[in-house]
């Protein structure tokens, strides 16, 4: 063997080693966190990345991990770009991640077919493909605590209550402004179904990704059409621009309701005093007084082991990031109990997710009672369709504008099951679930 081929061999070996699974300590597990701290969507992505990362650091620092098993994690920057997200997925797979959190509906749609082959659970918390809540068709995909269709049905239900009953929606006009991407288009089929059922008219205002900060046409159309309510499915730079435009066009902010991802504090803050009254549906409360968040402050932020500015702790999107990490940590704990192992793998993680239950007692124990609602995932129901509520921007922070209430599960479930079947048919041969769910 000459010198050149030895050198090439060494380089190849080094390259191969760099792609191989990391050498984890015997008492640790690995999770990749796909995040976006850069690009046009960073305004939403940073707070979420901080929330997830801080909670995992706190669990490692305070408890030494989950039952003594440390959670090793790193971030993979997707920039909210689907192609980069898929590359992150491949890296995560090579490093034996327990779970993959796409943090983008576009990326979720791309990795769903891969997950069942690679046997890696996909946790798309309150986003992604709504139909994936059907655990019998999508055994590897989880979207707790609610799907986009739950969010939309919750918003329509709330609007119905404001109008004095669902029957009063007849003849109303509801505007829907949305990011013209997989994310924004996801709830449209349900919106059209509900419109025909309750007799309201829907006006759609798509916003192209590259026009997120240039929405004057959409809001001029809103001004012309005079919808009774506006619903927003926005993300990143789209949200503050939409709220500013709504204020500028003197739209009644109390009738402007965003999905949970359009409920960032910075989004509403951008609208100044005029944004007061803006609303967003939510599955979590804001605030930093919860014991778990105080532990984050003490053990992570004050210990200078975080990228989170103290003012961000407890804000809406930050707490959503924390909720995502809570679901992962509690699923690891559940998987340990279900399998009897301490160091679990991705297949065990799926067992953990399918048996995940956070009741009031458990939420109190982990110091988050009141921040998120009790929730339960089952083998058949990978979302849970859990209670949600409406938040209102008071000029400085979000405050609850309603009690927790159930989304219109009875309306959503049949449409969701039909969509699930359609997905399996149009992606035939779609792999069947290997072990049936218990009746």
């Amino acid at each position: 063997m000459n010198m050149n081929s030895m050198l090439a061999g060494t380089l190849l070996a080094g390259l191969a080693a760099s792609f191989a699974a990391p050498a984890l300590a015997a008492d640790s597990v690995y999770i990749q966190l796909p995040t976006y701290r850069t690009g046009p969507y960073a305004g939403s992505g940073i707070a979420i990345a901080n929330g997830m990362s801080d909670y995992l650091k706190m669990i490692n620092a305070r408890d030494g991990g989950v039952n003594g098993v440390k959670i090793e994690f790193d971030e993979c920057e997707t920039g909210y770009d689907t192609q980069k997200g898929v590359e992150c997925y491949e890296q995560a797979k090579a490093k034996n991640t327990l779970v993959f959190n796409p943090w983008s509906t576009g990326i979720t749609l791309q990795v769903i077919p891969k997950s069942s082959v690679d046997k890696i659970p996909v946790l798309s918390m309150a986003y992604g493909l709504s139909a994936a809540a059907d655990g019998t068709t999508f055994p590897w995909v989880f979207n707790p605590p609610d799907t986009y269709w739950d969010a939309l049905s919750g918003i329509i239900k709330y609007i119905g209550e404001q109008e004095g009953g669902m029957e009063n929606l007849d003849g109303k006009t509801i505007g829907y402004i949305f990011l013209d991407a997989g994310y924004g288009r996801e709830p449209i089929p349900l919106l059209e179904d509900l419109a025909s059922e309750y007799g309201f008219e829907v006006k759609q205002y798509p916003v192209a990704g590259k026009e997120m900060q240039n929405q004057s046409s959409q809001w001029l159309s809103v001004r012309r059409d005079r919808p009774d309510y506006m619903i927003m499915w926005g993300w990143g730079a789209m949200n503050p621009t939409a709220i500013k435009e709504a204020v500028k066009n003197r739209f009644d902010m109390s009738k402007f309701i965003g999905v949970w991802w359009a409920g960032g504090d910075d989004d509403a803050r951008a609208g100044g005093a005029g944004a007061k009254g803006y609303k967003a549906i939510s599955f979590n409360n804001v605030g930093a007084d919860y014991p778990a968040l105080q532990d984050i402050k003490k053990l992570v932020i004050d210990a200078d082991n975080s990228e989170t500015p103290e003012s961000q702790l407890g804000e809406n999107l930050y707490n959503k990031g924390v909720a995502n990490a809570v679901y992962m940590v509690e699923a690891i704990r559940t998987a340990q109990e279900e399998t009897g192992k301490t160091v679990i793998n991705a297949e065990d993680m799926r067992v953990g997710l399918e048996n995940l239950e956070l009741d009031e007692a458990r939420l109190e124990e982990i110091g988050l009672k009141g921040m998120i609602s009790p929730m339960k995932i089952t083998c058949k129901n990978h979302s849970g369709h859990n209670p949600i509520f409406v938040q209102e921007w008071d000029g400085e922070k979000y405050t609850p504008a309603s009690d927790w209430f159930e989304p219109m599960t009875e309306k959503v479930t049949p449409i969701l099951m039909e969509a699930s079947k359609e997905y399996a048919t149009s992606n035939a041969p779609w792999p069947e679930r290997e072990e049936p769910c218990p009746e």
Binding site: T38, P40, I46, P206, E211, S217, S221, R224, P240
Partner: protein, 319 residues
């Protein structure tokens, strides 16, 4: 018949029935056009001096805006932050001339274009490294720019709402255009710059410093970028998404010509007003969202009849 009515009659009926709303649409288009024109001006300046299509103009808008807001966040008073942001753009211009333009003198245009694409990604990374990826709110009031709005009630009971910041944007843009026109036509540096644009080698032979001219013109483009960053940042936020909006200047340039300052302004206004009227009165016919491509369609149609743009120079090369 219904289709013909919907396309050719109904939009004009709507305009006649709600003239206040039409006025509002035209005003919004005018303001958007002014902002497009400001971005296009940055492209025109660089193209005039070096024949380079500066792909980095969009990120220069973001970088200038972030410098201003970022410095203010660090505790620098607003007006001092503005002066320092101008300084940042001057340093950037000198660095671009010294490390990018000078080594590439005489290279084909495509190489210079590739260099500006490289600069774009470098500035994105540098901006995120220094200022972070979060959108930042423009310090509009701190800079003494007007906020709020004035509403005019029309005879038919409708309202036309003018944002004070939009009026300021229009005034500032007009001042900048006037200033640049004077600079190019009445000053020694301006004439030297035009000489460089016509022929680099001939300009060098009469003693014009190419390096100095390029640094000046990149600095002027930086000032235009800062003004655009302030105005657009005040309307939404200063975020990296603005870099993509800046590509709206492309159809403006096709329409107005790559070398004409008045062309950038007229082109900006045609695109701005045209796309707003198109979206509002005809967009609904195809489900909305036509604004993102309508500007390019207008420019493409124009290109077929007048490839050099409205005010561009018709160049005939002898073979």
């Amino acid at each position: 018949m219904d289709v013909l009515y919907t396309i050719f009659i109904d939009p004009f009926v709507q305009m006649a029935e709600a003239p206040d709303f039409l006025l509002q649409v035209v005003w919004e288009g005018f303001v958007a056009g002014i902002l497009y024109a400001l971005i296009a001006l940055g492209f025109v300046l660089i193209y005039k001096a070096s024949g380079v299509f500066n792909f980095a103009q969009g990120i220069m808008v973001v970088f200038a805006g972030l410098s201003l807001v970022g410095l203010h966040e660090m505790g620098v008073p607003a007006l001092l932050a503005l002066i320092m942001a101008i300084g940042v753009m001057a340093i950037l211009a000198i660095c671009i001339e010294k490390f990018v333009m000078r080594p590439l003198v005489g290279q084909p245009d495509i190489i210079l274009l590739m260099a500006t694409i490289g600069m774009t990604y470098f500035l994105i990374g540098l901006g995120e490294f220094i200022f972070g990826g979060e959108p930042k709110q423009m310090i509009t009031e701190e800079l003494g720019l007007p906020t709020g709005s004035t509403a005019f009630e029309m005879d038919n009971g409708g309202l036309v709402i003018l944002q004070h910041i939009d009026i300021a944007a229009a005034v500032i843009a007009l001042i900048m255009v006037g200033g640049l026109a004077v600079f190019f036509n009445r000053t020694r540096i301006g004439r030297a710059l035009r000489a460089v644009a016509d022929d680099h080698t001939a300009a060098l032979s009469v003693g014009i410093s190419l390096n100095q001219i390029w640094a000046i013109v990149w600095f002027a483009a930086g000032i235009v970028a800062l003004a655009t960053g302030i105005m657009w940042g005040a309307r939404s936020d200063v975020s990296f998404a603005l870099e993509i909006v800046a590509l709206k200047a492309l159809p403006v340039l096709i329409l107005g010509g790559f070398t004409s300052i008045p062309g950038a302004v007229i082109g900006g206004l045609i695109i701005g007003i045209g796309e707003k009227i198109g979206e509002i009165y005809w967009g609904g016919l195809v489900g909305g969202g036509i604004e993102s491509w309508l500007a390019y369609m207008i420019a493409l149609i124009f290109l077929l009849f007048r490839p050099q743009g409205l005010f561009g120079e018709k160049i005939i090369e002898r073979i």
